[in-house]
Symmetry: D2
């Protein structure tokens, strides 16, 4: 059996399906999509790609299946789905997710059409795998789909340790060996064996600490918001969304520099906007936190007008409320199955903590802060 | 300057005082005292010693002082205190702390007398250091004492990462570089710079997860309780407590095997008692959780009698309520200084979580469980 | 002082010059140049960049200077040079070094002109640094230049550990702390203190093992040779070499795909040529190993003709003889200074070992191997 | 299946035999025998034990067997032998190996009698394992014995990475995953698959660098030689060698302090002798390097007399010529099987390098160096 060297899981053995899938263009494309988009502007070592993450998820899926004693064609479908789970991502991964979803009505984990268009279905069928089942697994459907996409999925277990390894921030180094060993199926649900409330908490806490320190670092958020704005411009200027969705990071970076030169060059050279406003929930009127991307752009335009600036000089960034998906992890407690949010005191507190960390940002060139700050307060009705 | 290789902090440079102190018998003795006493019966790689921990604390103290811009003789006192902070420990460290303190009235961080008796004072004075100030620093007194022993001390920062490294349990891998960089003095108190509520939380969470998984693992607790019982026997049989307090692990292990053969051999060979009772706070009558060690022993004796067993065949283990000392960490928030318990939603939840994890244990040889369980319920009035 | 998180050296403190230099376009460009060009096609985690490497070299330079007790403006010049030592690299770093050097007559470590053209000189002068001295240091000139570029430079110390960390191949994990502590100046030469022959050997061996396993892995060599060929085409088709030299990886990848579509797409999708010939020195006629790049291209063209193929379908790859620069490391032995090649038995053996590992490669599409192999043997006169 | 957490290999799953064997006194005793005896006096983090090493070897044996596609009762015997391979060690492991072997005529890997005397045979038979076959495997006999004890054994693969992890010296971090994947059987011999000359070299080099830096560090050698001398005294004074051989480290440390007080206390407190003589092969008359331990002791006595000192005040330490066992590793090269010493240029050079590193030591209390040095030169006929 082939094996590939990974800096996180060491040698990853590859079954024949994996070997065949790795050689296809849609999987090779993941070499050119960074796992953490703009985070590397804060943590320079974080240049890792969705390609190595896909290998890691594939590896943990195999280990999970072994511990759960699942083999045969069910296991082969899950492993292939694990390897393919991110092929639906656009350039810069999560950063362009909303844009693509709004314009195509398709989420990144809906890969049925993609499998057909890219001939991945042929490769799968040549190995007696059903493309439809693979697409369902990637979408998290069915009993086994929970392993690929769910509160206890191997995706999460890989990215936490991998992002910790590559950023150098240790908070994400969970004990995935312990988690994998504790996985059980109970009435069709993936749960953790008795005695693992703290194991589940450790996953939740690792995610929460990585969120605050890495994933939602304000510099990365500024760069990300600028990137989204620039992408919207690109699409408004006529770039086909399907072409956009199939780009890789390097394509987008060149395209932005050429077609949206100001924002594009700024992103390329890390010449970023600064914060004119950084406001917590208590300073924000009702409804603001629920604004759509479209509302954000309109607000940005109004602020720019009010401040007498070019419309791209202001970016409004309103993050979604944190979902804390891990809080729905199921754990066996005293013979019954409980959601972590019931079994653990920490979930409620973490929810409140994250609410307290929520920040609305308004960003602009450093020289324009004095104009943008008051304009933003007026337009957004901030305290 | 000399340097010594450490598996956690890599090369640790040694100033002349440190070089001189390392060669003294009280510091060399720390080579023979394991950092985690009975934990290595659960995590076999955890054989590390208080000697390497002392070096690590010395190293982090120097880094903290540099970041705080403290040098000269104040810094030299703090560094020496860091290196010496654990010389007052008895064999098996924390495990014999209560026994020694009850019989001598002296805590392990009261090292004034020890410095004199072991001629450490001469070494210190030869380097123009004041033994009295060193003793005060080790006891956590004064502004600088907080660095050596306090909520934000370098002791904690070293043991969390070191115990994680040696057990293999990743939960303790805090970002000590971030903590050290965030240290400030404000009105004589050691605090964290603005923007570090989550940094403080990460320390608290690392400690909480290590507590549940490592420090309070039930197998380590059983071995620890057996060890304490055996030590009490040794002292009751006439061993002088001062001699006992100056022993190292190997001395105690041999002494126990020879003078308390049953328990001694069991500890040496990891032939441990098992849990006859493992009860949470809700199953325990009022007052039980506050029982003293003396009460514990009397209860164990009564249970043994009730079960028709030899008195050493039953061990009762009632842990103290978790102190959560880290919750008193001070952080600068909006120009003011707040305790973490005020600034963070997590502290209250962690307190409740740890309350829910609290367990009273009654242990005995496996063959005696059927007799001991009902006897214990009667004697302790358990539900 | 600012600090930046690195996955290899943890927190790297930044002096004001470094902070200013990091924000300039030529240094930000290094974020877009991978450290190991095509190696990541073999080791998928190796996506790290020259930007993080530059930070690492800067960090080790500061540590080396501290150990050597060098401070003031001399130290400030060395640190700035360390940070800038790679700004002269073209896209894909070492892979395009020869091409650029042949067409411009300028090596990547000649950065004098670059400093002026990019206004880096202004930034340097604003911090009282002399751009000319910086350029000399980067070129390895003078006593201090040896720290930046020489047999014992901090460049090497950083890339070995960093490449090990990111590929997952442990061979490069040298003990840089030991090396830095052993650095001395003796009669203007950078040497290792007495007792360090083995320390010097460890560096040499780490490099040799990484060469065989990572840097000269045959798959990376194939991709690299294809890339070089494609770049030559680009330049032959009229792209200005100065424009080419200032590109970053993403620019080149897009440019190649658009202007040299076959090779460009193959590189992007890792659809690589295979080995038609893989011959050791004993199978190669005299003179072949000394062929220039121009000779290589002519031979490839002849082989393609002979095999009846398009000229870009054959790539000839003749590596230079391994230089083993580390063998010239100076070590103090018995009061005198010796070159490692004199002091160590291993150097000669390593030279012979590397000679034995030398391979000439002829690559082509998999389907053409049967035609290319005999044609290559004829044209190159192979055994 | 049970699993145990290891700081090197993470979770190690335990089969029922392993679980049963771990609970026996001879295996539990390994918790009290340090892997690197006196090395921890130089590298303070190196307190790891033969117990965790035994688990590691067991783990790698299982992985090797899987890669070699060996299962069933053959595999079960090998795994049990791997776990038990070190139970024959005396206190302080290799340090007392010669003493025990000279007085009992039994090497540490002859465990047949031990299995019977300690009832390990009963445990083995209860799991349908043949104690005789286990003993043969531990002695390296037969095809499968090479996996447990041979040039390519899993013992070596574990201790190199484990000792690197615990000392902090990176030289031992081999790529055991690569080695395990390359194992093959060819005509009854364990060999490495084609293309692995460098893999074999990396093992040899890791061992050579660890030897110089760790295993044969002069301070560890001094402490080791003092320990051997003290043990000889203990046995001469009437301690039964079988009792001695079954001691653990803590037993020996207490026994030495009580019965050989001067040397015993010095070892316990790291109050070590210093080097009076440190001579290379070129300064030593013929025959000296071949002296037996008995010769060593006689020479030490003569030197002490000549210098007018107590006989225990001088210790002579003449290391054996380095065996370089790894040089006999077999690798498949061009379809045939070659020994590494034939296939690799490095072996000869390493042999010469190690010959150049060989040192004879004469040690004594620091105050006696001026008397001992000339006396030693006279007695040993040194240049």
């Amino acid at each position: 059996m082939n094996a590939i060297k990974d800096s996180v899981h060491d040698w990853i053995p590859l079954d024949p399906v994996a070997t065949a899938l790795l050689d296809t263009p849609p999987v090779q494309r993941l070499r050119h999509i960074k796992q953490l988009s703009t985070v590397r502007l804060v943590y320079p070592s974080a240049s890792h790609t969705r390609f190595e993450h896909a290998l890691g998820v594939y590896h943990l899926a195999r280990e999970a299946l072994t511990h759960l004693d699942i083999d045969g064609e069910r296991a082969r479908h899950v492993r292939a789905a694990a390897l393919l789970h991110d092929v639906g991502h656009g350039p810069y991964g999560h950063q362009t997710e909303d844009i693509i979803s709004r314009r195509t009505g398709r989420d990144h984990d809906e890969i049925g059409a993609l499998l057909r268009e890219t001939d991945l279905d042929t490769v799968l069928e040549a190995h007696d795998l059903d493309p439809g089942r693979i697409a369902d697994l990637v979408a998290g459907e069915g009993e086994l789909g929970q392993l690929v996409s769910g509160e206890l999925d191997v995706d999460r277990m890989d990215y936490l340790v991998r992002d910790a390894h590559h950023t150098g921030v240790p908070y994400g180094t969970i004990d995935h060996g312990r988690l994998l060993r504790a996985l059980r199926y109970r009435d069709g649900s993936l749960v953790l064996a008795p005695g693992n409330v703290q194991t589940a908490e450790s996953l939740l806490l690792a995610r929460a600490l990585m969120d605050g320190t890495v994933y939602r670092h304000h510099v990365s958020r500024i760069a990300g918001a600028m990137l989204e704005r620039a992408c919207e411009r690109l699409l408004d200027d006529g770039l086909d969304v399907e072409t956009f969705a199939r780009m890789a990071d390097h394509d987008l970076l060149v395209e932005l520099r050429e077609r949206v030169p100001d924002l594009g060059s700024r992103i390329e050279r890390r010449n970023l906007y600064k914060r004119a406003v950084w406001a917590g929930l208590e300073d924000v009127p009702d409804g603001i936190a629920e604004m759509t991307r479209k509302d954000e752009r309109r607000a940005a335009r109004e602020i720019a007008e009010e401040a007498g600036l070019d419309r791209d000089s202001v970016v409004v960034d309103i993050p979604s409320r944190p979902a804390l998906k891990e809080s729905r992890t199921r754990v066996i407690v005293d013979e019954g199955v409980e959601r972590l949010e019931t079994a653990s005191e920490l979930v409620g507190a973490l929810r409140r903590a994250r609410r307290a960390q929520w920040r609305l940002g308004v960003y602009c060139p450093e020289a324009a802060i004095d104009e943008v700050e008051p304009a933003a307060k007026v337009v957004l009705g901030l305290a």
